[in-house]
Structures are given as C-alpha cells and as structure tokens.
Symmetry: C3
Subunit: 346 residues, 3 copies
C-alpha cells in the first residue's frame, strides 16, 4: 500500500527532509531500490550506497541525513523505525472472522468471531482462540489450549493440550508447543515414562520459528516471558524459563529446568545444560555450550573456529595431551614462582 | 482420578506408613503440593522440602521415611514407582474406537476397531493400525505402514511407506519416520539420487520426540530396538541401529550406518559420525562428537565449556598453534627423557 | 519391475558380461542379495563380498569385473550407474493427475492436469503446480507459491507464500520453505519485527530433507541453486545463497546472508556464521563452525573428538589457561628467536 511521507513522519515521529507528498509503497535495499521504495541506513557500512540510491525515501539518523540525496525520514533508531514502517507497507493479508468449511472444531471450543480458522485445521474441546487471531491451514490446537488475541499461526502449527499463549504471538509452520517433556525413570528393565502434567505458558509478543519445539513441564510449567523471539529448530525442554526479550537463534537447545535471564542473546546451535541459570544480559556466540551457571552479564564463547583439517587434526591431537604438556612446562620451570592455581589442584 | 493409598500400596508393591483411606488425585512437587497431591523424594537434594510438604502422601525410600510428616509409600525405586502412580493419576484421555468423519482411509487399510483415527488424518493403502492405538489429528500414515497396539501418535506425525512400529510406542507431533535416507552418488554433472529401498523397524515401548526424524534404510533397514527413548529434533540417519533402552537427548545427530549399543545415554546435541559403532553402556555428555568407534563402556566428552569471549578467543588463537607450542616445549626439554609418544609420531 | 540386463546395458551405456536374458527386479547388498537382485561394487572395501554374492548381476568397474562370479554390468562410475538403475527398479508409485476430494484448492490456483494433490492438502490463491508434480497428503502450499514440474512433496510439506521451486525437486515430510526470516530491530522496550518481504528461490533437482527449514529473505531472496542436496533438520536462514551441487548433511545451520559456493560438502551439525562466504569446493567435517570466510578450497575442521570424560575435563581445564601456558613457554625460551607472530600480537 502506498503511503505519503508526511503521514509516515507524523505517525512514527520522524523529522522529514524533502517533499511530504512523495509516496512509498514497499521497502527495498539502498543499493537496488526502485522508485517508490523506502530504504534505510542503520549501519555505517552501507553508507557507500546512500549517494547513489534510487529509493524514494530513506530512514536514517540525523548524522547521515545531510548525505542523503533523496527525501529523508530522520529517526533516533532508524532500524526500528524502518521496521515499523515496513509493517505498514507490507501488512499481513487481511482476513475475515470465521472458519473454513473443512476446519474441525470440537464441542466447547470458543473461537472469537473475529478470528479465522483455516482449511484443514483442528480445534479441540474447550480450546479458546482470541480476537483477530489467525489460525492458518493445517494447524492442530488440542483440547483446553488457549490462544490470545492478534496471534498468527502461519500453517501446520501444533498447540498441545492446555498450553496458554498470550497476545500478538507469531508461530511459524511446524512449531510444536507443549509436547511431553522428556522424562523417564530408570528401572531394572528399562525406563518408565513420567507423565508430564505441567504445561507451557507463553507471554505476549513472542515469536516462535519453524519446526521449533517447546515442551510442557513435568510438574509446574515451561515459561516463555513477554517479547521473547525464538528462531527455527530450537529446542526448549520442560520446565525451562526464558526471561523477557531474550532472543534465541536457530538450533539452540535448552535442557530441562534451565533458567535464562532477560535480554539475553543466544547464538545459533548453542546448548544450555539442564538445571542451571543464566543471568540477564548474557550473549553467547554460536555453538557455545554452557555447562555452568553464568552470573555475570557479558559475552561468552566456547567453540573453536574452523581451520584446515590437517592443521586442526594436529592441534587436536595435542589437545588430547594438553594436561601432560602443562605438567612438562611446569617441570621445566622448576616448580618455582610460576606454579599456578590449576597445578596445585592436581 | 482419586485413588486410595491402600490401593496404590497394593498395586505397586509399596509399604504404606499412614492412613490407607487417604486419597490422592494428582501429583505435585514436594515444595508446593496442594492437599490431595502425591509427591515423591528420589534425590537427597530435595530432602529439605520434605519436612514442610503439604502433599497428602509421598513416595520415597525406606531411609527417608522416618522424616516424612505425611503418609508415605515406601519403594525401592521411588522415582520409577512415582512414575507408575503418576500414570494412573494422570491417564491419557480415553477414546473410543473408530475414525473421525474427516479422516481419509484408503482401500486395503486395516484399522483395529478399538483404534481411533482423528480428524484430518490420512491412512494409506494397506496400512495397518493395531488395537487401542490412537492416531491424533493431522497424522499421515502412508501405504503399507504397520503400527502396533497401544501406540499413541499425538498429532501431525508422519509414518512413511512400509515402516513397521511395535507396541506401546509414543510419537510426539512433527515426528517423521521413514523419510528417504540421504544418499546421492556423485556424477560428473552433480548427484544421482540413490533410491532408499529399506525401511524403518521400531520395536516396542519406543518414544519419539517432537520433530525428530528417523530415515529409512538405503538397502536393509534402520532399526530402533525396544525401549529406546528419543527426545525432540533428533536425527537418525539411514541404516543406523540403536540398541535397546538407549536414551537419546534432544538434537543428537546419528549419521548413516552407525551402530549404537544398548543402555547408552547420548547427551543433547551430540553427533555420531557414520559407519562407526558405540558399545553398550556408553554415555556422552552434551555436544560431544564421536568420530571413532567406542569399544569401552564409560563416559565420554568432547566439547569445551563456555568462557568469557575475550578469554576464549585468546586461548582459541593459541589452540591454532598448539602443535607448534608442543614442539617448542620439547625443544626446551632438550629432547630428553620427557620425549613422549605423540612427539615421536610426528 | 523386472528388467533384462541387455536392456539395462543399452540404456545406461554399460558393457555387459554374462547372459543378457537374465532379469533383475530389485536392488540388494552384495552380501545378502537374493536371486533376482542387482547389486553393485563401488568401494574396494566390499570386494570380499563379491566372490560369494548371490546377486543375479553386479554393477562394477572394469578392474573388478574379472572377479565377478555372476553377470556384470561394467560402468565407469558404478555407484552413479547403480543409482540410475535402482531408480528404474524401484520407481516412485505412479499416480494420476487430479486431486483428492478432501484437498482444498483456492481460487486462482493453477494445477497442471497431470499433477496430483493428495488428501488433506491445501493449495492457496494463485499458487501454481507444474506438470506431473506430486503433492502428498497434508501439504500446505500458500498463496502465490510456484512449484515446477516433476516435483515430489512426500507429505506434510509447507511451501509458504510466493516461494518459487524449480523442476524435479523432492521435499521430505515436515520441510518448511519460506517461513519468515529471523529479523527483529532492537528498541527500547524489546524488539520490532522486520517484515520479511523477500522470498525463496529454489532451482532444479534440489532435494530437501525432513523437517528442514529454509527461510525467506528480508529484502531480496534466499537462493538455493540447481542440484543442491539438503538433508534433514537443516536450517537455511534468510538471504543465504547456496551454490549449485552443494551437499548439506543433517543439522547444519547457515546463518543469515551467508554465501556458500558450488560443490561444497557441509558435514553434519556444522554451523556457518552469517554474512560470510565460503568459496567453491570446500568440505567441512562434522560439527565445524565457520566464523570467517573461506577463500581457499579444501577440507576444514573445527571440533574436538570425544575422549574419556575425565581426561577431556583435565585437558579442557588446561585449555582455559592455554594463553598463559604459551606465555610461560615463551618466558622459558627467554624471548629469543622462537618468539612467534602470535606472541608479538599480544
């Protein structure tokens, strides 16, 4: 949809430099924006594309505005302002309330008349779906599940029995919320399954990526607080708690009963061992394994970078004798002042 | 459902200390159990909660029974006994045999009259579903697949062509059993797909987690033996064999033709390289990569723990010269008695 | 289906040694092939099984043909030739064009009359499905998506809005193509979702494994070139580009805007950090993390192999002081000629 810059400036609190009557109807990157497109500059790295952009307008900060050859919307946080405008220019498809004839809705389910239940979806007994929520094709919402208002289940999402979801949440295809946690008591002949009688509580404004799984609690609940953003193929085990506004990249695994603080950023393929806690404002770089609680905000790493295989193999063989190497060094040092704490731990 | 302690004691072979007429109708944790709840004590760490519990009864071992302020069910293995009782108090929802009107069942399929096929599910030609098995909403069971008795497919499970599943298995939503294994023969212009003509054989009492995938064999079958428990987002490749009662945590990947022994425990995000074997009773800690066969039972690790990023980066840079460092140490030692095996391997 | 060796020899350009009238109707491994089966020998490791095979014919190279006790089809690339013959002997089930009565097809969708849309599948507005393509049970194809000719969606595949797929692609169950990329702009109160206005472009002859996810681009598209083969549970983030004939094993994660070259092989559970590039002909061993661009073809590694936990823990503790150890060694060396580049970087 086309919007005048004047309207965008007012609506998003930007200073406008340039013709207020110019209209934009889509977003595009600085370097290849067609006429009619809005672009943005949030990272100085892309400043080089500004001078030659064909965008009809650019969202940027005051410092960069002078260099902008086209109309500029000046914002304190250009990236977030751009995101909000992009939502206006590229809205989700509108829909009417109701349900497709092929959807199955069991007795006792309560679906707000402004919500839509698409083809082939299933809504179990006593489930509730809030106002203006969109349940796409092939979703399964089991009995007693509660979905808030303004949520969007794109397609083929599963909400298991009695999970509770807040408002304005988005679930990508294949997400599974509330499968049984992984609990089995060892017995002489194998394992006995432990019923998982808790559920999953998800706050408001939570995003859940494609094929991500969030398991229900064993006793007590798995909790995802407001504003948490979770990427694809993430595993959140039973009784985990994730603090508000934490961001979790793809393929992160969080084991049972771990507690993650607020505003953390967990890099892709990281793993958190069960029953420990990570404080607020912790960032993990990719593929990091956390096996002890983290009590101090900061950035943590734990994965070696790629090297040529031949070289890596040689170093890796040395690693397997690293303790011995350290002892040899100490011996060379004559066991004097350099003796360090970890040596005395032996 | 409410059950008298007297009945539980008889049924599960516990000694009962306390009023046999007391009823419990759910399970809860020691520290916040409401009246009417059964709790358990299996780990001494939680002993502190015993004295103040409001549970109506507690399952525990003989040694802890004296400290129990409420009726006690004494068991040799309190955790497994608790699990069994919890299954009684929190049974899966009962269902009648039959099929939902929206389910599609192809010709030649044989569905036991006591089994249920839920809304939107599909059962292909000549597939077989055993007694009292539950096929939840949105499942797809392709032609010639065989599902045993008393199985539970929660929702949106896929059983591909001709896979064979034993009795009492549970599949969480999104599990895919029997997709084609990943086999492509390199050719001058790219790759040629190798038909995967084997299938998947799953024993009895196997649990498969949400969005886990178990591929069919290339030639010959992928085999999962009795009692194996598999968590979410696990990958089991073609022609893998997993021994009985092995437990596999989330996000483990097992590459093609690997053989895993019995009663192993594979920690989350571990990876097993193809064509190797792991003997019985091996445990892997999280994120461990196994690139050689393991022939000795025990615990194995292979992943560095998280450290502050700055410190990790420094050490990691040193790792990339570790072989050189070891040579320097040997030079300092003068090539004398300390010369070790790996040095002579150079 | 049974085929005469004479026909196979002509069709696949093999030299035939043995009776041209012999028929084969399936494939099997050398060591347990029944009569009527075709086997192959591509790896000298399996030569020991050749002498005693009961296969009715074997595909192998000229050098091994003399040792073959049964009819031989001699090929320059026995594995690829075997793969092609196996496709003939084990064809996908034939199907007629049309749609199952329970499939839902929205207005404006264009389905080639030779394509099949199976039970419970959904085809959105203006989506297009090409000739002879097979859409299995429970698939969801959203509005404006384009699927080429001769594709196969086994079951429960999701193609999101406006993705474009070439010809002869295969998608295993649970694959999700075109979910929103993971983009959120930080703001004072949390994050603002960035609309993902690009799409996914997939070339010809691409295979996508079970529960794999390929996200749509933020601005601009995510691109998978011809002949790429992707295993299960892989994550391809927004704006990634994957070069032709690259092979990606299970559980690999490729972060946003990374570019992967042609004919690469990415080992299982590897991770590629965002915004970097990997040149053509790079192989990664399993679980390797690539955090810098790779500009030189070759094999790269980055993950320590499993060791006994006790030993690994000791070495890992030393790793956390490796920088200090290196400094101690330098001190022992007296800061002389051995002083190396990384020391002077400190």
């Amino acid at each position: 949809m086309a919007v005048r810059l004047a309207e965008l400036a007012v609506r998003f609190g930007c200073e406008l430099r340039g013709d207020p009557e110019v209209c934009v109807d889509r977003v595009a990157a600085l370097e290849n924006a067609p006429a009619g497109a809005l672009s943005f500059l949030a990272n100085p790295r892309y400043l080089k594309h500004l001078a030659t952009t064909s965008a009809s307008a650019v969202v940027l900060d005051a410092a960069s505005a002078a260099a902008c050859p086209v109309p500029a919307l000046i914002a304190a946080n250009p990236y977030a302002t751009y995101a909000r405008i992009a939502q206006v220019l590229h809205p989700d498809a509108a829909f009417n309330g109701g349900r497709h004839a092929s959807a199955v809705v069991e007795g006792g389910a309560s679906i707000d008349p402004t919500a839509w239940v698409a083809a082939g979806s299933y809504v179990g007994r006593n489930a509730r779906i809030g106002a203006r929520s969109y349940v796409g094709p092939g979703c399964v919402i089991l009995e007693d599940a509660v979905l808030g208002a303004d949520c969007r289940l794109v397609a083929r999402v599963t909400l298991c029995r009695a999970v509770r979801i807040g408002d304005r949440c988005v679930f990508a295809p294949g997400a599974v919320i509330g499968a049984d946690g992984f609990g089995h008591a060892p017995d002489q002949d194998g394992y006995v399954k432990i019923p998982q009688v808790g559920t999953v509580l998800i706050g408001d404004d939570v995003d859940v990526g494609a094929n991500t799984t969030i398991d229900r609690g064993t006793i007590g609940d798995t909790v995802v607080e407001d504003g948490v953003k979770i990427d694809n193929l993430v595993m959140v085990a039973h009784n985990v708690r994730i603090g508000a506004h934490t961001v979790i990249a793809a393929m992160v695994g969080i084991a049972g009963s771990a507690t993650i603080g607020q505003r953390c950023m967990l890099g892709g393929q990281s793993g958190i061992v069960g029953h420990l806690s990570i404080c607020d404002n912790v960032a993990l770089t990719g593929k990091t394994m956390v096996s002890r609680s983290i009590t101090k905000p900061g950035v943590y790493s734990g994965n070696l970078p790629a090297d040529e295989a031949r070289s890596f193999r040689r170093n890796s063989a040395r690693f397997q004798k690293l303790d011995e190497l350290a002892r040899r060094v100490r011996r060379l040092e004559g066991g004097l002042a350099e003796e360090t704490k970890e040596d005395t731990d032996e």
